[in-house]
Amino acid sequence: MADRSFEVVKPGLATTVQDLGRPGYYHLGLPLSGAMDRFALIVANRLVGNEDGAAGLEAVFLGPELRFSLDALVAVTGAELPPKLDGIEQPLWTAFAVKAGQVLSFAFLKSGARAYIAIAGGIDVPEVLGSRSTYALGALGGFEGRALKAGDVVPLGTPSGAGCEGATLPPEGRRPVQANGVEIRVVPGLYWHRITEGAQAGFFEDTWKVAPEADRIGYRFRGGKKLDFVPREQPFGAGSDPSNIVDSCYPYGSIQVPGGTEPIVLHRDAVSGGGYFMIGTVISADMDLIGQLQPHQPVRFTVVTMEEALQARAVEKARVQELDQSIGG
């Protein structure tokens, strides 16, 4: 075992190393990657005294089991996936101390989808194109370009010393839970004009459910009405289905609807382009929220203007800026 490391006893479902991503290569088909819930990773890092962009673990639905080679400071944020130390439950959104040889495991998921595990010093896998994030589809970055496996020994960096045990972010510093069901805000655009007015209204009226095919690339939804298209002669090169377009780039958060039936919202590991039309884009402020949705969870999409999208962005930015005040302990 390396000097500073943890060993993966059980990997969980799909636990990956993630930081805040790898911008600048989308034009080559390499997406941003990084934490799906960026706020949660930033908080976890702050709680243990790391830089915001230090690499941590993203665990989805089922937590891993990790044995530490050294004393460490750990924090778990995001989904309600309660951490346990040698079987004893530890608080979420709070830095706790781990002794060398102790095993960090997790109870069953109570809410949300993705937990973020930050360890003081950060995970010290090599940077690839400026980031330690895992892009599993391209076998790039992270730990050998893939999700963790049992037996992996994952190296850790040197702690800054700024973190302290018991540091915690109280609920009021976190994103508020939406009491009346999840609403995801959307700026219509891109190929919005391709569907009828009735379909446009229906998309926002219907309740959609997260489909089982929901991952880091994109979240698929079903259960709403099929979208009707404005009739047209398909442009040369697009293909004959009315949902086909001449292959274009796909924005992060863009909502494509192949065949007009099941909307797919592209996320951090987005495919960078393709030939399905898009009806708009989820605002940047709500991307974290999508990363915490579970399959079968009902959601509604709501229409917002660019101005409202920028206001929502400012709210989320302020939440990060206020972290130093809101973190107590």
């Binding site: 090169g237 780039c249 924005p251």
Partner: protein, 289 residues
């Protein structure tokens, strides 16, 4: 051509140069993205050219969306007059058409296809009025293809065949995208060909596989030190190979002996438009010596 501008949420601007595909639209999009890159506008984080459109990602905390939109529109007039000549290269790609791996995959996803009773190649030959698969494959491998976009997944080229529009191969994408496509599948959707750089989801019809990797995250393959081979503007020539040559190529790649055939060539859109057959003959002469 009518250029259309749209916001993609609060972080992207999407510019559709034309609704339909043409090399004119590609060159205008390329000129506009080059102009954006040279402008050095603060707040732009990604510049992504596509077939007949492009996308800019930006930080709205640095530049207001409406201001960036106005700047982009300012590049349009000059792009229309820009020189449509590029210095590029032609790359030969060996293809095993109708291979066992895409065949197995397409059978698994038959219920997502327009015609569950035939293979993707049989379907594509029929809807493009070829008498049989053999003559369809011959046309696919005969004329070179222009890389008009890189993306979808890491290093995947979208290719546009350098023939008159009447001779372009056109097929619909799968009714519902597959969740699996073999690595290095040569595919086709709409008027575009592609080579799937990695295994994964896909909606294009599948025609064959190449033995030649085009993306290597480890950077170990000699010609993939920069992880991927293709850039927009490259030209591809497919060459149909038999199973024995495919296997030999795979072995050569594994042993680090494979060198792709790549030759530098100029490409002028005006020259191609005036004489497609003559321009292609020169490209193939440059490739084959």
């Amino acid at each position: 051509m009518q250029t259309r501008y749209s916001f993609g949420g609060d972080e992207h601007i999407f510019v559709e140069v034309d609704e339909e595909m043409s090399l004119e639209a590609f060159f205008k999009s390329l000129s506009m993205t080059n102009a954006v890159r040279e402008s050095g506008i603060a707040g732009i984080t990604e510049i992504c050219p596509a077939n007949a459109s492009f996308q800019i990602k930006f930080d709205p905390d640095v530049i207001a969306p409406q201001d960036l939109m106005a700047e982009l529109k300012g590049f349009e007039a000059a792009a229309e007059k820009a020189d449509k000549t590029i210095e590029t290269r032609i790359i030969e790609i060996p293809v095993l058409y109708d291979d066992p791996w895409t065949r197995e995959t397409l059978m698994r996803f038959r219920e997502r296809h327009q015609d569950p009773s035939s293979t993707d190649l049989e379907y594509a030959a029929r809807v493009n009025d070829y008498p049989d698969v053999q003559s369809f494959v011959a046309a696919h491998a005969a004329s070179p293809w222009f890389v008009s976009m890189v993306g979808f997944v890491a290093g995947l080229p979208f290719t546009y065949q350098l023939v008159e529009r009447a001779k372009q191969i056109e097929v619909p994408k799968y009714l519902r995208p597959r969740t699996d496509t073999p690595r290095l599948t040569v595919g086709h959707g709409g008027c575009f060909g592609c080579i799937y750089s990695v295994r994964g989801a896909g909606g294009y019809q599948m025609f064959g596989v190449t033995p030649m990797p085009i993306y290597d995250p480890s950077g170990k393959i000699s010609y993939l030190k920069e992880l991927m081979i293709f850039r927009p503007g490259d030209i591809i020539k497919f060459r149909s190979v038999e199973r024995a040559e495919y296997d030999a190529d795979v072995a050569a790649i594994d042993e680090g002996r494979f060198e792709p055939k790549i030759v530098s060539v100029p490409f002028s859109l005006d020259a191609f438009t005036a004489d497609p057959a003559g321009t292609n003959a020169k490209l193939l002469e440059a490739l084959n010596g």
